[in-house]
């Protein structure tokens, strides 16, 4: 009996079964590809975090430790590739004697083995001269006006200075971790690396510092710098746990003689936080898509309910038992489930290949297999849910009479009567307010704690909004098609003419089905819209972050102490490809005893080379505050912290001490507080000032510029940067936006999200179009009989179109309007709740109009296509249609 049934099923209901399988396939493909993608990006985050660390571990020996024993213990620790000693010696200062004598304050002298640069390539960046021998760090070289080949004196407390010959100039990109206080908690780390640093070959260091070690052992210390194997678990959290455990293990085995400065662990700790955010994003953006696919599938099986009930009744009369009916339903579910899973997995592989060039989304085979299994299991579950469950319900309860009641005077659903939609919306609001009180902290990853806590609770806000707004849409449809059917009739008059009233009352009787369809379309459209807006805003902010960090398309940073005036902008402006150049003063200013960066801008023209978002400021828009700086040159923008520390209110006098260009002495310059600045191009993340450049220049007797912001119109950035570099030589540092874009921020950068975006936007588009087309097709298929009767009663083609298009128009207009409204609300809420992933937080949402227009157009197109097909099918001789049904 099963086989006969199956054969009949395949022959008679092939199209419906394949639609159900397609719905399952979409859900499986979405889950499979997003999951694999998530796993793959987590692995990328781990790899990247590890690759960015110059020295994995810095092991500090305690004073009384046996250096050889510690070295042996470190070298034999599992996972350690190389460990070399690095010596730290404190100097009272450096000096050079050329035409004039230059001296510096206290500093640090490192002793490194010859192999150091090869083992830890990211730690040293050669700038000039030789890459080995005695190396001066750039800022020190600038302070000493020293060049390769010059002789530098190293001051030693209580001893005579030692003299060495500089071989080259280097930069220390990771100076912060290099000079960390190993073992000290984050709060008591030095606020900045030492200003003056010299690197000596190991042997030279011993010659210089061994005498000092005897008299002042407190001024020298030894660290072991460790390169570990980077074969880590792919998940950042697991990798973090593995590495911190290894570090603790080493400390335990040396019984406290060695303390591990775990740079790799710190990087992985940051990465695991990003990974948790990626997971949240996956949930927020991926799950609704899968839910939609399930709803669509359920709509298809639901639309076949009448027919299924009829079949069941027939089988019953032929003596089939309840169990046999269930068995047949199970076979049907297995059939569509397996077909859907296979198609979905093939789809996921295709998506992977299109979006990432590999079916594994760049992940490992294990993660791909894992997610394939999860997605397939979900697919089978959906099949069971949408096929077996309704069949079961029908077989249990349905009588023929109940099956007949499909239109008309059914009571409003219980949730509508109890106002569930309003309850859900209110709950969504409450949750958002609650997460807001928590500062939208979705991910908590306390340092040193192996578990990371993600507040999935916040997910409930948008989820409830989505569902609640969907139900509210249903309520509106119910109201409009019920009480407001005259309005609908009037709207349809141009289309349906004399029949508009009849069409409207017909629709009002099936407002339940129509409402459900409108809600499905609205949910799909809103999913597409909010995903797109979220992604566009994320990209906008990633770009803003890169621009904040770099300052402009190309930024020229003068060496500290250089006295280049704004006039040099002319030289830069002459370089081909340069659109405009904007000088940006960079000074240091004392406010009380606190030293902060101060940026002097030309308020009228600054935005020609960089972008200022309103979100960077409080107390006015970017434009207003720049206007204030221009019209009241002594006004100043300060950080919120400074406002709090000094209890400032607008207009208050703020005296800063700035270095005078002529006397090099600090002089007091009066400013008036005009607003708060939180972010500014090239500025650090902590406190700083923004003021009018010409006022600062006038008051300090010097117009030295710290940086030039070069606008290239966004084109050929790397090329222009190279030209600028060639023109200026090593005198200034040239950075470009293209490079910064890749480097900035967390590992949750545009590169990672771009893939997610592509996959999601494609699925969202597919879902929106399918939702529209499918629900209309199902609705019209249910009413093929109606159309046939209408034709047989003498309805003309135009009159028939009034019925079909009337429904299509209501579905399209209702679905798109509700979808746009829900989408707008949802995007706003998503961006608010997910503030944590934005850096900086956006002042305005980015709306990707072109994508949204495509979504709208394709949805309308799908609906129009289905209507046209329905009209065409209704033209078949009505009598044959009636016979078949």
């Amino acid at each position: 009996m099963t086989l006969t049934w199956l054969r009949g099923l395949l022959r008679k209901r092939a199209s419906r079964l394949s639609i159900v399988a397609a719905g399952i396939a979409v859900a499986v493909a979405l889950l499979g590809s997003l999951g694999t993608f998530l796993a793959a990006s987590k692995a990328t985050m781990t790899k990247r975090a590890a690759a960015e660390v110059a020295v994995d571990w810095q092991v500090q020996e305690s004073g009384d430790a046996d250096p050889n024993a510690v070295l042996a213990a470190v070298r034999s620790a599992p996972g350690v590739r190389t460990a070399v000693p690095v010596y730290y010696g404190r100097t009272s200062g450096f000096s050079t004697t050329g035409a004039t004598t230059q001296t510096t304050g206290p500093g640090v002298v490192l002793g490194i083995p010859d192999s150091y640069a090869r083992t830890f390539p990211a730690e040293l960046r050669p700038l000039a001269g030789s890459a080995t021998g005695v190396l001066i760090v750039q800022q020190t070289a600038a302070n000493l006006h020293a060049l390769p080949g010059d002789t530098v004196s190293i001051g030693r407390a209580g001893l005579s200075p030692a003299r060495v010959r500089a071989g080259g100039v280097v930069d220390l990109p990771q100076a912060d971790s290099l000079f960390q206080k190993v073992g000290a908690p984050v709060g008591s780390q030095p606020s900045a690396p030492p200003d003056n640093v010299l690197l000596l070959p190991e042997a030279t260091w011993h010659q210089v510092f061994d005498p000092l070690a005897k008299s002042r052992p407190d001024l020298v210390s030894t660290q072991l710098h460790v390169a570990r194997s980077h074969a880590l678990p792919p998940d950042p959290a697991a990798a973090y746990n593995a590495i911190t455990a290894a570090a603790h293990n080493l400390e335990a085995r040396t019984s406290g003689q060695a303390v591990v400065g775990d740079n790799l662990g710190a990087a992985l700790g940051a990465a695991r936080e990003d990974a948790a955010y990626a997971q949240v994003l996956f949930l927020f953006l991926g799950l609704p898509g899968a839910v939609l696919a399930v709803l669509l599938t359920a709509a298809v099986t639901g639309a076949g309910a009448t027919r299924r009930r009829r079949e069941q009744a027939l089988l019953r009369t032929r003596g089939a038992s309840y169990r046999q009916l269930m068995w047949l339903a199970t076979v049907e579910a297995a059939l569509v489930g397996v077909a859907g899973c296979l198609a979905g997995l093939a789809g996921a592989a295709l998506v992977g290949t299109l979006a990432f060039g590999s079916a594994r989304f760049g992940g490992t085979t294990a993660t791909a297999v894992g997610w394939t299994t999860v997605a397939a299991a979900a697919g089978l579950a959906i099949a069971a849910l949408t096929v077996i469950v309704p069949a079961r319900r029908d077989a249990r309860t349905a009588t023929v009479a109940a099956g007949r009641l499909t239109v008309g005077r059914v009571r409003a659903p219980w949730w509508l009567r109890y106002g569930l939609d309003l309850v859900l919306l209110a709950a969504a609001g409450v949750i958002v307010v609650m997460t807001g009180n928590n500062g939208y902290q979705l991910v908590l990853a306390p340092e040193g704690v192996p578990t990371i806590s993600v507040s999935y609770w916040a997910f409930a806000g948008p989820a409830l909004l989505w569902v609640g707004a969907g139900l509210l849409t249903w309520r509106f449809c119910d109201l409009l098609l019920g009480r407001g059917r005259r309005v609908v009739g009037a709207v349809l008059r141009p289309l349906a003419r004399g029949l508009s009233g009849t069409v409207a009352s017909g629709m009002s009787r099936q407002r339940r089905a129509l409402g459900r369809s409108i809600v499905l379309v609205a949910l799909a459209v809103s999913f597409a819209a909010s995903t797109a807006v979220f992604n566009a805003s994320y990209r906008q902010q990633a770009e803003a972050d890169a621009l904040l960090t770099n300052g402009a398309d190309v930024t020229v940073t003068e060496s500290p102490g250089a006295l280049t005036g704004p006039g040099a902008a002319g030289t830069l402006a002459a370089i081909p490809g340069v659109n405009g150049v904007e000088p940006l003063q960079h000074r240091f200013a004392y406010v009380g005893s606190d030293l902060q960066d101060l940026y002097g801008v030309r308020p009228g023209t600054i935005t020609k080379a960089t972008a200022l978002q309103d979100a960077y400021f409080t107390g006015g828009t970017a434009r207003q505050l720049m206007h204030t700086l221009a019209t009241e040159p002594d006004s100043i923008l300060v950080s919120a912290e400074t406002v709090k520390d000094f209890q400032l209110s607008p207009g208050d006098l703020l005296n800063l001490r700035l270095q005078d260009g002529r006397t090099k002495r600090f002089t007091t310059v009066p400013f008036h507080y005009a607003g708060v600045v939180k972010e500014f191009p090239t500025a650090p993340k902590d406190s700083f000032f923004v003021a009018n450049a010409s006022y600062v220049a006038g008051r300090t007797g010097g117009d030295a510029v710290g940086a030039f912001l070069v606008d290239t119109g966004g084109r050929h950035i790397a090329t222009v940067a190279d030209r600028v570099r060639a023109r200026l030589g090593p005198a200034a540092t040239v950075t470009d936006l293209a490079t910064t874009r890749k480097a900035v921020g967390s590992s949750l950068t545009s590169v990672d999200l771009a893939g997610l975006t592509r996959v999601e936007l494609a699925f969202a588009l597919l879902l929106a179009a399918t939702a529209g087309g499918l629900v209309l097709a199902l609705g019209l298929a249910e009413r093929r009989r109606t159309f046939a009767i209408a034709t047989a009663l003498g309805g003309t083609g135009r009159q028939l179109r009034a019925f079909v298009f009337g429904e299509a128009v209501v579905l399209t207009v209702g679905g798109l309007i509700a979808g746009a409204a829900i989408g707008a609300l949802l995007s706003r809420m998503l961006v608010t709740v997910l503030t944590g992933v934005f850096d900086p937080p956006p002042s305005a949402l980015a709306v990707p109009w072109s994508y949204l227009i495509v979504v709208g157009a394709i949805t309308v197109g799908a609906l129009a296509l289905v209507s046209a097909i329905a009209v065409r099918m209704a033209r078949r001789p009505a009598i044959s249609v009636l016979r078949e049904l």
């Binding site: 009767i789 009663l793 003498g794 001789p877 009505a878 009636l882």
Partner: protein, 227 residues
């Protein structure tokens, strides 16, 4: 009073074949007949003998594969003229999303009658058939007999000169069937319309004065019996 020129419908060698080749089914085979005004014809024959197909051909709802049909008494073919022929289909044929009065008014609306007038005429028809109280019910809220009476009302509301009823009593019990036939006959009398009722029930057929019998697609006999 039957004159050839005033016949409602005239069929000459009319044929309808479904499908082709080996699977071809000849549903109606070279039928020639004439329906005079005021005729009361019972179209009988076993199931599958071609009754429905012939009625559909006469109603202009089915295309011919042979012969010709003309409608001299109706002023030309009924195509695109809703309500010229009153048709009652075999099986349920009310639009489930329209209530009774909207269903009855539908052919009038198709014919371009303004909604107020159409509703008014539909209401009067329901009244005449004694089912005015059903006006605002939905088809799913009607019994089988009620549904068929509404279908009759819809067929006659446009005041057609020819009424074609395809097994209107097929699914009804004895009493309800008798009632529906009475309603049909009364309506036909009132409209002075010709009436053809297909049925495979001899008792129903006996209520009409003329009987045409079909077998295997052919009109095998035509008889008039006195009432």
């Amino acid at each position: 009073m039957t004159s050839a020129d005033s016949a409602m419908v005239r069929c000459a060698q009319v044929a309808r074949t479904f499908g082709d080749g080996a699977a071809a089914v000849v549903a109606v085979h070279e039928v020639s007949c004439e329906v005079p005004p005021g005729a009361r014809i019972a179209l009988t024959g076993p199931s599958g003998s071609g009754k429905s197909t012939l009625l559909h051909l006469i109603g202009g709802l089915e295309t011919l594969t042979g012969g010709t049909i003309t409608w001299p008494g109706l002023g030309g073919p009924p195509h695109g003229r809703a309500g010229v022929i009153g048709m009652i289909f075999q099986g349920p044929s009310l639009l489930p999303t329209l209530n009774v009065i909207e269903n009855v008014a539908l052919p009038l609306r198709f014919d371009g009658v303004p909604s107020a007038t159409a509703d008014d005429r539909a209401a009067r028809t329901l009244d005449r058939l004694g089912i005015a109280e059903l006006a605002s019910r939905l088809p799913e809220e009607l019994s089988g007999g009620q549904s068929q009476r509404v279908a009759v009302a819809r067929a006659v509301a446009s005041r057609p000169k020819l009424i074609l009823a395809d097994e209107p009593t097929g699914r009804l019990d004895h009493r309800a069937a008798g009632h529906v036939i009475s309603v049909l006959l009364e309506a036909a009398d009132e409209l002075d319309a010709a009436l053809i009722v297909s049925t495979h029930d001899a008792e129903i057929a006996a209520r009409l004065p003329q009987r045409w019998t079909m077998s295997d697609g052919a009109l095998s006999s035509r008889e008039v019996h006195s009432r």
